[in-house]
Structures are given as structure tokens and as C-alpha cells.
């Protein structure tokens, strides 16, 4: 049974008092969907703006600073421009799959967003296999990328999509194993319980000390790889493949891929925050008495992790395909396996903080 947002308990009770149960439930679903879609769009636009500003600062430029305060509405203007653009396509492309592909990507991103605990009460779907659910659904996104590349009838798009498949298959493993290290420590797959376990003993990155830090590093590396961002952006390597799998997409369909990339970045950061940095918990419990500040703390932590990912992007050069696979199969995977054993031993000996 779905646990609805209890932060909106009054709305919930109001709706159920107003209309029959079935209708109220559907209305509530629609409302929740609207809230999440609005968040999806707003967070996407904000992250694009942030990326561009931060990239500019890393390169000693100013970045967009004309539209609105500090250029904040630049991405809104860009989105409006993309809405008005013509949707082009390639000749003899598979129209059905071509149009379907962007939805796979954004639907996967949206579905994961629903299980992320923004605060103790702001979580649309508190499933008891949350971590597993995230892992499973995040792999759907790559189907969209593969479909888009295949259906574009363009060899660069196809090469980009195949690289994406290769990369995701490899790095999914590392993400899973590094998450497993933390699940060992938490003893639960439910995201809200993982956070609650960090309330008493401190954040898992402190509780689990050495193996948790190693797990966090591996998670960040493979998380960046999962989102196809630099330095693992050989999926859409501009200098090699045009724009990779979305070369042939224009207008809003391109914007969906673009927004989904940033939402995926948000998701990876949110999972990292939930697993390692106590999710919506305040640092050292300084605002323990004010649980509504959870959203604020959660967002601060997520933005810090996202900043770290942007820092990676504007520092490291792109990996070659063979280097990508060497990193995963020769370094991350063995280290990860050793790390799990280390974590198990530490928990067995009760050496956690």
C-alpha cells in the first residue's frame, strides 16, 4: 500500500472528506504527480543553470548573467526556445521507437524520484526494497538511450548508444556493490529505515569509516559513469560523435534527454546523500527538533555532491573505452569485493562507530 505524503496530511484529509474515497485517491495521485513533475522541471532547469555558471567559473568566465538575477532565467528562456523548435527526424528512421526513446529516459528518472526521501515526511513511495527498486529502475533509462541511438538511423548515434550500453552494464555492478556495502551496515533496503539508522549512530560515512569512505568513492565514480557525464561522457563525446545518441533529436525531445541527464545527476547525488550522509538528517543533529528543515538539509547536501560531480566534469579528461573498462573491471570491481568483505568483518567485530 502506498504511503502518501503525510506532510500534506491536511490536504489528504480535506480531499477524503470532500469526495468519495476512490475519487479522492485518484485526485491525490494526480496532485502528487503534478508536484513531482513540477519538481522535475524546476530542478532540471536550475541544475542546467548551475552547471553553466559553475563551468564558467571553472574556466574563468562569467557564464549566463543577463536574463533575470544572475542569469537565473536563462534556462527558462532556453526551454521556451526549445518548445518552439521544429521536431525533426531522419529519413527511414523507426518513427515509433524514435519518439518513444525520450519517454523511457524521463519516466525512469521520474519513477526513481518518487522513492527518494526528501524529508522524513516527504516521500511519495516508501517501498521496503527501496535501494533495490532504485537499482532496478535506473537500468531502464539506458534502454531509452539505446532505443534513441538505434532508431535515429545515424551511425554516430548508434555508436554512442552502444557505448552507453557497455558503460552501464559495467558500472551498474560497481554501483550495486558499493550500495550493498552500506546495506550491510544499515541492515535494511528501505530508504527511510536507512536514514533512521543514521540518526543514532551518526552518518554511515562516519559509522563505517574506512570501508564506507571507499564505498563512497566507488559510488561517486560509478555514479558519474552511470549518468554518462564527463569524464565518462564517451556516450555523447562531442569531439568524436557529434552529440552521441541524441544527435538526431531536436526541440523538446532533445530537451527531455537533456533534462533527464540532470535529473539523473540529482538522483545519484540524492542516493549518495541518503546512503552516506544521513539524507535529510541535520549534521550532528543540530536541528533535531525542527524536522521540517529536513528538505533544506537534504537539498544542501545534494547540491554539494552535485557540485563535486561538476568539479569532476570540468577537471578530468575523457576516458578511452579501454581505459573505462580497465578502471571498472581491474580496479573498481576487485576493490569493491574486498571492501564488502572488509565491511562484513568490521560489522562482525563490531568496530563501527
Amino acid at each position: 500500500m502506498m504511503k502518501t505524503l503525510s506532510i500534506t496530511k491536511t490536504i489528504h484529509e480535506f480531499l477524503f472528506g470532500l469526495m468519495p474515497e476512490g475519487v479522492a485517491m485518484v485526485v491525490e495521485w494526480v496532485l502528487i504527480a503534478a508536484v513531482y513533475l513540477a519538481f522535475f522541471a524546476l530542478a532540471g532547469l536550475l541544475l542546467v543553470w548551475m552547471e553553466r555558471r559553475i563551468a564558467a567559473f571553472f574556466q574563468l568566465r562569467l557564464g549566463p548573467n543577463r536574463v533575470g538575477p544572475a542569469g537565473l532565467f536563462q534556462t527558462v528562456a532556453d526551454a521556451l526556445k526549445l518548445v518552439t523548435k521544429e521536431l525533426t527526424g531522419t529519413a527511414r528512421a523507426d518513427q515509433f521507437l524514435y519518439n518513444l526513446a525520450p519517454y523511457f529516459v524521463i519516466v525512469a528518472a521520474l519513477v526513481i524520484l518518487s522513492v527518494i526521501p526528501f524529508s522524513a515526511e516527504f516521500q511519495a513511495f516508501d517501498i521496503n526494497i527501496g535501494v533495490f527498486f532504485v537499482m532496478a529502475v535506473s537500468s531502464i533509462g539506458v534502454i531509452g538511450v539505446l532505443l534513441g541511438g538505434w532508431a535515429s538511423n545515424n551511425k554516430y548515434a548508434l555508436i554512442g548508444a552502444m557505448r552507453s550500453g557497455l558503460q552501464t552494464v559495467s558500472y551498474e555492478l560497481s554501483v550495486g556493490l558499493s550500495i550493498l556495502t552500506i546495506v550491510l551496515l544499515a541492515g535494511s533496503l528501505q530508504l527511510s529505515e536507512i536514514i533512521e539508522a543514521q540518526r543514532t549512530g551518526g552518518w554511515f560515512i562516519l559509522q563505517g569509516h574506512i570501508p564506507a569512505v571507499i564505498a563512497f568513492m566507488i559510488f561517486m565514480i560509478s555514479g558519474v559513469a552511470e549518468t554518462n557525464r564527463a569524464p565518462f561522457d564517451l556516450v555523447e563525446a562531442e569531439s568524436e560523435l557529434g552529440a552521441g545518441f541524441h544527435t538526431e533529436y531536436s526541440g523538446m525531445k532533445f530537451a527531455y534527454f537533456f533534462l533527464a541527464e540532470f535529473i539523473n545527476m540529482f538522483i545519484v547525488a540524492a542516493i549518495a546523500v541518503t546512503l552516506f550522509f544521513g539524507g535529510h538528517l541535520s549534521p550532528f543533529g543540530i536541528t533535531e527538533s525542527l524536522p521540517w528543515l529536513g528538505v533544506f538539509w537534504f537539498m544542501i547536501k545534494v547540491l554539494i555532491i552535485i557540485f563535486l560531480m561538476m568539479w569532476f566534469r570540468w577537471t578530468f579528461p575523457r576516458l578511452r573505452v579501454d581505459q573505462l573498462l580497465t578502471l571498472e573491471w581491474k580496479y573498481l570491481l576487485p576493490l569493491n569485493l574486498m571492501n564488502i568483505v572488509l565491511m562484513a568483518v568490521i560489522i562482525w567485530l563490531n568496530w563501527t562507530f
Binding site: F57, F58, Q59, L60, R61, W311, F312, T315
Partner: protein, 158 residues
Amino acid sequence: MSYFSDIYKGIKTLLTGMMVTGKYFVTARKSIITQQYPDNRATLKMFDRFRGEVVMPHDEANEHRCTGCQKCELACPNGSIEIVWDRIVDPETKKKKKVIEKHIYHLSMCTMCGLCIEACPTDAIKWAQNFENAVYDRTQLTKVLNKPGSKVKAGIED
């Protein structure tokens, strides 16, 4: 055992790189290297090497250094320079002498290659540093470089 030292070295070099970019990020607001063009239009000074357009400098007596030798016209690969010239009889030496009537420069065709300036034996033409060359009518891009009533500076031809 180079495996673990490789990992250590890898992480160390990555952190070194992040230190460098991090330093840029922190100091970015002070050390912006791009020109904020429309804002600093009043103070913007172009570099000496900048090639805006070809001009012919005149001194206070409205004298230029062009002898009308047409070397620039010959050097120009796309015919941006036309020289309308005439022969007059020099009143002192009673010899026929070539003078320019108009040194016509088509900015619209110029590729800023600078061959005319290299070819000029008397340094009569040089680069200007202006860069706002847009006009509403392309006829304005055809310019006469010598000012009306100007004449060649004495002693340039010697």
C-alpha cells in the same frame, strides 16, 4: 605490487587536477579573463596586433605617405584595393609624377590578411584597432582612404 601504488598515484594526480581547477573556481570572480564587451565598451582597448581595418594615416598638414605605386593593389588577393591615379607635372622638376586621386578600400571584401600592409614600401597604410565595423548599407563599406585635398608628404619618394 604496483597495483596499489598505481591506485594511490591515480588518486593523487586526480586530486592535484582538482586542486588546480578548484583554485580557479575560488578566484573566478576576481580573475575573469573574458572581456565583458558591451559593458566595458568605453574602456575597452584593443591590442596592437588586432586587425580591424586598413587605414591611411594623415599628419596635421593633411599629408599621407602614399606614392600611388599600386603595390598594395597588386598584393591584395581578392581585389579589395583599387587605386585611381593620375600623372601630373611636378612644377619644380618639370617631370611627370604619379599621384593618387582615390585610394579605394572595400572593407566588405577584405579578409584582413595584411598582405597590402606588408607590401607597402612607404608604410602609407596600417591596421586600425576599431572593431565595430557593422553598417546598415554595404556601400558604406567602400571607403576612400586618402582624405579629400590631401597630398603626398614631400621626400617619401626619394
